[in-house]
Amino acid sequence: MIEIENIQKSFDDKSILKGISGVFEKGKTNLIIGASGTGKSVLLKNIVGLVKPDVGVVKYSNRDFTNANRDLKTEIRREIGMLFQGGALFDSKTVEQNVMFPLDVLTTAPVDEKLDRANFCLKRVGLENTNNKMPSELSGGMKKRVGIARAIVNNSQYLFCDEPNSGLDPQTSILIDNLIKEITLEYNITTVVVTHDMNSVMEIGEKIMFLFEGHKLWEGNNSDIAKTDIKELNDFVFANRMMRNLRDS
């Protein structure tokens, strides 16, 4: 479980996050949604520690991450796996080396064991025969799947995904969404996904936090999201014709 309390962040006097609190539950796919520029990615960076909040605290299973000393911070970070928007695979390494990377650097396990684990994770994301491919040889969807394999290879307790569907076709998007949901349930981990894709919201949104101009405006799940009377949320949810048609029918 991850708790965030009153997270505030400004850049050059421009306030991006204006006091956001909430809980991301274990074993659930927690979504942070909102239009572009509302602070979703900044909030995620605050949670994983890439950016330090001006005010507020992030707690991982009751451990204060924001004010932790270096050792505790490193310990918590080693329980985190993250899928970045562009995959963030290391260009100079093969798929296998990318997936094995956290094990190579952070563990002292024998090579065979690390290789078995990497192959297991690659199989789990449906990429068994790509070990020797370079990231430049992969499609967008494959890069994301390798990113997921790398994120879970070290038995991560927390999985973060920044716009996992950006740049993907609808079918591949659903495949990635389902993979994230399955992995969350299978390993009983805390997953936080930042997205503005309504298909993802409806598909995997077990717990959803809606941000608007740096504030948390609404929290709920995918069966409640279409039933609110919050104008900003309705504008976001029913922005496309298909959703409006569904509502009207």
Partner: protein
Amino acid sequence: MQLAFIHNLGKYFVFMGSLFTNRESFKTYFKLTIDECVLIGVNSIVLVSIVATFMGAVTTLQTAYNLVSPFIPDYVISLVVRDMTVLELAPTIIAVIYAGKVGSSIAGNLGTMRITEQIDALEVMGINSSSYLVLPKVVASILMYPLLVIIAGILSLTGGYLVGVLLNIMSPQDFIFGIRDGFNPFSIQFALIKSVAFAFLISSISSYKGYYTQGGALEVGIASTQAVTTSVIAVLFADYLLAQLLL
């Protein structure tokens, strides 16, 4: 302008300090450093060899062209070429070439890793990205650049010898005599001290410029250019400072 310079200088020193905190295992760094030695050092040998050979050849030709008095013996040409090569041309001019090739490559590499979130990925894993990525580059540079300078010095003198002898500017005996006459071994030490300082400056400044790149492909290009210009200025400044202090 001055404030920006002081801010950058302070940030650079903090960055250098971060290379030594929260490090990974020695084994990890050893492997990375060997890889960087190949990328930085071995892959620069051809370019350095070509530049050094021609540099020695041209220096011999121009020295001979200027020393036309019958009162100056021929061996003075190779003596001048030797001192110019060992003291200045091999460590300093090759440093400018090295900054252009290796410095821009380091900045481009780190800049690309920054904008494609690869550095963020390392940080999220709990790895000190600056130490993991930069320390091996700096160590490899310090190990390999003096070797490149030694190669450059030898090839530069060889180039001078070939031109001097093949174009009948002087006899082989005169060239060898000039190389050995009044030789001060400290000039070799001085060249190696300079090469270590230059290697550190080029690799660390280029890493700093690349590591803090923000934006997109355009900014990566800008960071590479800045890495080369700042490194070259730092090398020339250090060259003056070391000459003043050690000679």
